[in-house]
Subunit: 369 residues, 2 copies
């Protein structure tokens, strides 16, 4: 392998792909980033076998070939290079790589690329495209609700369902749920129901977002491929059946309030400061067009009154502070409707405008003081 590239191109490629580098794999080679020079293109790849990220970089190739370099050093090394042409050459027998810049040279001990797992791009008839900015916003609105602990894998993923020309996404960790519906031009004739790991969507959302550009999505039985310009993210799908989440969404309501999202979000942030591991919930008390947010811990007591427009009965519930805070952050609307179905029934949070998003929060059962 022998090529010339620029600091900027090399750095941006490794910064993107390093997100897939495995930090705990027993295979040492997965702690590396693969560089493959072929046909005027440098292809940079990392994978932890669950997710793979591949980035193409323009380069002047003198000799094709490939090598794997330790991710731990290579990103920071590229960042510290001067802005001059960078000459990179690998020894096909040892995996050692020479990087020349100006009058200087650094040699890095690499791995032979043969040991690096192949990352074939999935091929399938099931292909569609979604605008980058719309997909990014939808991911942000649902992915926070996935479960972190991996004991039940389906809860660590986001359901993505397309049928009847409509995409729906849902995620739940059993304490909360987020659901988003979206329409896009390319959804006709597609009928899928897959569970994508939350981690994959988190990584995808970090690299997309340009308006008027699209993400191409290819789905096979057990993999999904996201492609944008010079970048591909390949991920396994989660097998299993997503829980029948629609039946959890309360159909009736006892009361509903409408308020300014920011006012509640800021009160919850202050209250969160006083909640500790032992008492992670805040109380919400609704009466007379006032929502009282309160918390009492050994550090102190918060009592905040927020003016609301109230329909229906007074209500008191206790909710997990962090869950409420996270739900409010992604709502994407200046005003919010909150629907209560009873002190132990889920709260439903919806933007005031539109009916394509909701999130749901199970109250905490507390002992009355």
């Amino acid at each position: 392998m022998n090529f010339i590239s620029s600091k900027e191109d090399l750095l941006s490629a490794v910064q993107i792909v390093q997100r897939a580098v495995s930090h705990k794999s027993p295979l040492p080679i997965l702690s590396g980033i693969k560089f493959c020079a072929e046909n005027d293109l440098l292809i940079v790849t990392a994978t932890d076998l669950e997710i793979g990220i591949q980035c193409s970089v323009q380069a002047e190739i003198f000799e094709v070939g490939s090598v794997v370099l330790p991710a731990k050093y290579i990103t920071e090394f590229f960042r510290r290079l001067p802005d001059v042409p960078i000459f990179i050459k690998s020894d096909p027998l040892t995996g050692n790589v020479s990087v020349k810049y100006g009058h200087s040279e650094t040699n890095i001990n690499g791995f032979l690329a043969q040991e690096f797992p192949e990352l074939p791009l999935p091929v399938s008839e099931v292909k569609f495209s979604v605008p980058e900015d719309i997909l990014k916003e939808a991911i942000r609105q649902v992915v926070f609700a996935v479960a972190v602990e991996e004991s039940r894998p389906v809860f660590t993923g986001v359901l993505l369902e397309i049928n009847g020309g409509e995409m729906q996404m849902a995620a739940t960790d059993t304490h909360r749920l987020a659901w988003r519906k979206l329409k896009f031009d390319d959804s006709n004739n597609i009928d899928i129901n897959i569970i994508i790991p939350g981690k994959t969507l988190n990584e995808l959302s970090k690299v997309i977002g340009r308006p008027e550009k699209e993400v191409d999505i290819t789905v096979t039985d057990n993999q999904v491929l996201f492609s944008v310009e010079d970048l591909c993210i390949i991920s396994r799908l989660i097998s299993g059946k997503f829980p029948p989440y629609r039946q959890v969404i309360p159909q009736g309501r006892v009361s509903r309030i409408r308020l300014i999202t920011r006012e509640l979000a800021e009160a919850v942030e202050r209250a969160a400061l006083f909640t500790t591991a032992g008492s992670s919930f805040i109380k919400l008390l609704l009466q007379n067009n006032i929502l009282v947010v309160s918390v009492s811990t050994e550090v102190g007591r918060v009592y905040e009154e927020i003016p609301v427009y109230q329909e229906g009965e007074p209500m008191q519930v206790a909710v997990n502070t962090r869950y409420l805070s996270e739900a409010l952050k992604v709502l994407g609307s200046g005003e919010i409707n909150i629907e209560f179905a009873g002190p132990l029934n889920p709260l439903v949070l919806k933007p005031v405008e539109g009916n394509d998003y909701l999130s749901l929060l199970l109250p905490v059962r507390i002992r009355e003081e």
Copy 2:
């Protein structure tokens, strides 16, 4: 205590004084910040008994008094307050504090202020003023060389010497030394030789730097007081005798080079990436108007050539990578002179212009491979 203030004033005061809060004192009260309302002024104080920081805030005082609030919560709480008038009132019997903002109220459990140590401002005839920006730059240029480990206290401090109308500052951890000389109008008739804790100067340099403003400095036998506008930093001095550092500075030299500071600094940064705990040094080889920076570890090898203007003999030395990097960062000059007095004698680093700064670096003795 009962007063009105603004979020902005309260937040900026606690952000400054919290740097003196003790995180490991056995006295719980020192983990707090003291608020004292008196004569239209709120005085906010923190101390770990070695250093004390005090900040005055304009406030409308209804009732004088004082209280101590937990630093861990109060700074973040003030940050999260809305931009409305903040009403603060303490209960003189319990130390509990009510903070009202808009229609909301937070109660924080505080400490009674009686337990908080007094922090009397030192009074002395020995007083002088130094321009903020000049003092800040001088601190930056010497304080990095103080010792971290506290087994020999004088090495954790910076010597500050004024006589003959001139101030000199010096710091050393025995492996390196930094020295700075500066003239300022107010230095006549002052004759002092004190050792100020490095930590104190670090904190001071974070809050000063405005051009055309001055720091007032008061020195007693065992304390120093720095005052700027609404802010005071009081610190103990380190007792003991600073080592006779001047005799360490080599008087002769075998060779001298002149080079662009940034070129060496960047090469050292790249080399630093490859130095590990086991081998923390880089080699410098000087010959034929080229300075070669090299390092070889199990990760790889760096070999960088830097063009220099050379006087005198070829030279090879090994130096601690971090020490060289830190010395280059504070040099404050586009071009640097480095003087060599032999492979095991200290290197002297000087800006090309002026003779009011130098730093010195003891080479590492290495086994030739």
